[in-house]
């Protein structure tokens, strides 16, 4: 049990929080910054996009992120091919000065379902080039095994499609994934409410990554705090060893010694 109470370790970094936060879709940069602080997160995800015109919006965003004192996890969001993802990873490593890459290779647009075949190929290439790859994957056990063989030391399985807020779509599959692998597993995508996050943590996942559920909440800062509490509660519950559900009642009050009053 002792080792499970350690801080979250992703590759060579130990992190004080098990909540990772995305930076997209907030009503304003100020609310993003406040939500990051309220969440207590140590890692935020970022992306690379074309810098448009003379506005240099990306430079302002990057300045803001650097004031927050958190680690950045760049993604390859929107990449549909191995080549795109690998090239984006190279660009991200240079701009963000980190070897971490949240590797996304998307195979289907309606669900943003990961292309696990492309993912494994890109993960192998990037791992061999010294990247520390955090692949956005599904709960597929075989794909997970191939990703680990490709060099991944962290996996980021989805709970449900990105932005859907549906929670743990396949709790049995996720439970099997947790049972099979010792590497840190971060639930990424599809979490809608703090109770979903708590459920993921209770099931033994090491961390959760939240974006839309915080950014699009009516009060993003309050929701960031709510997720922080849920993640902490879920982790504590996992370590405490939850009871197994059963079909029939078991009296919690002792039966022996009950007065005979019939």
């Amino acid at each position: 049990m002792q080792h499970e109470q350690r801080m979250l370790r992703l590759y060579d970094l130990e992190l004080s929080s098990r909540l990772l936060l995305g930076t997209a879709r907030y009503p304003s940069p100020a609310l993003l910054a406040e939500a990051v602080r309220a969440s207590g997160t140590a890692v935020v995800t970022v992306a690379l996009r074309r810098e448009a015109g003379g506005e240099l919006a990306g430079q302002g965003f990057w300045s803001l992120i650097r004031t927050l004192g958190v680690n950045v996890l760049p993604n390859t969001a929107g990449c549909h091919s191995v080549k795109e993802a690998v090239t984006t990873a190279h660009m991200a490593r240079e701009v963000f000065a980190t070897s971490w890459i949240k590797l996304e290779v998307i195979g289907e647009d309606d669900t943003l379902h990961p292309d696990v075949f492309g993912l494994v190929e890109a993960a192998r290439i990037l791992s061999e080039e010294g990247f520390q790859v955090l692949p956005y994957c599904t709960e597929d056990l075989v794909a997970a095994d191939r990703l680990i063989n490709a060099g991944c030391r962290v996996l980021m399985p989805w709970a449900a499609p990105i932005g859907s807020g549906r929670g743990l779509n396949n709790p049995f599959g996720l439970k099997a994934l947790r049972a099979h692998f010792q590497v840190p597993l971060i639930i990424d995508a599809g979490i809608g409410t703090p109770s979903h996050a708590a459920a993921a943590m209770e099931a033994g996942f090491d961390a959760v990554l939240i974006n839309t559920a915080v950014a699009q909440a009516h009060q993003p800062v309050q929701m960031a705090r709510a997720f922080a509490l849920a993640v902490e509660a879920g982790r504590a519950a996992y370590l405490a060893g939850p009871i197994e559900p059963r079909d029939l009642a078991v009296p919690s009050t002792p039966v022996i010694g009950k007065a005979f009053l019939a």
Binding site: A24, A47, L48, A77, H90, V95, A189
Partner: protein, 71 residues
């Protein structure tokens, strides 16, 4: 000469008579000197340190990306 920058045609100046500019010079012309950007030329990543030694030719596709919000 004309090149494609982030999907749009742009006119950039030559470095001299019949001399193509470097990627570093193109970035300077477009206002990206010393900015936190990464670059690709015709789909291939060009590291910051290699920009000064990379020639950009008529019709080339240059991608310039910067940090943005992401999930």
């Amino acid at each position: 000469m004309k090149i494609v920058v982030n999907g749009a045609w742009r006119e950039v100046a030559l470095a001299g008579p019949a001399t193509t500019p470097t990627l570093e010079a193109v970035l300077g012309q477009l206002g990206f000197a010393n900015r936190a950007v990464a670059t690709a030329l015709n789909g291939g990543f060009i590291a910051a340190g290699a920009r000064a030694g990379t020639a950009v030719r008529e019709g080339d596709r240059v991608e310039i990306v910067a940090p943005m919000q992401g999930g």
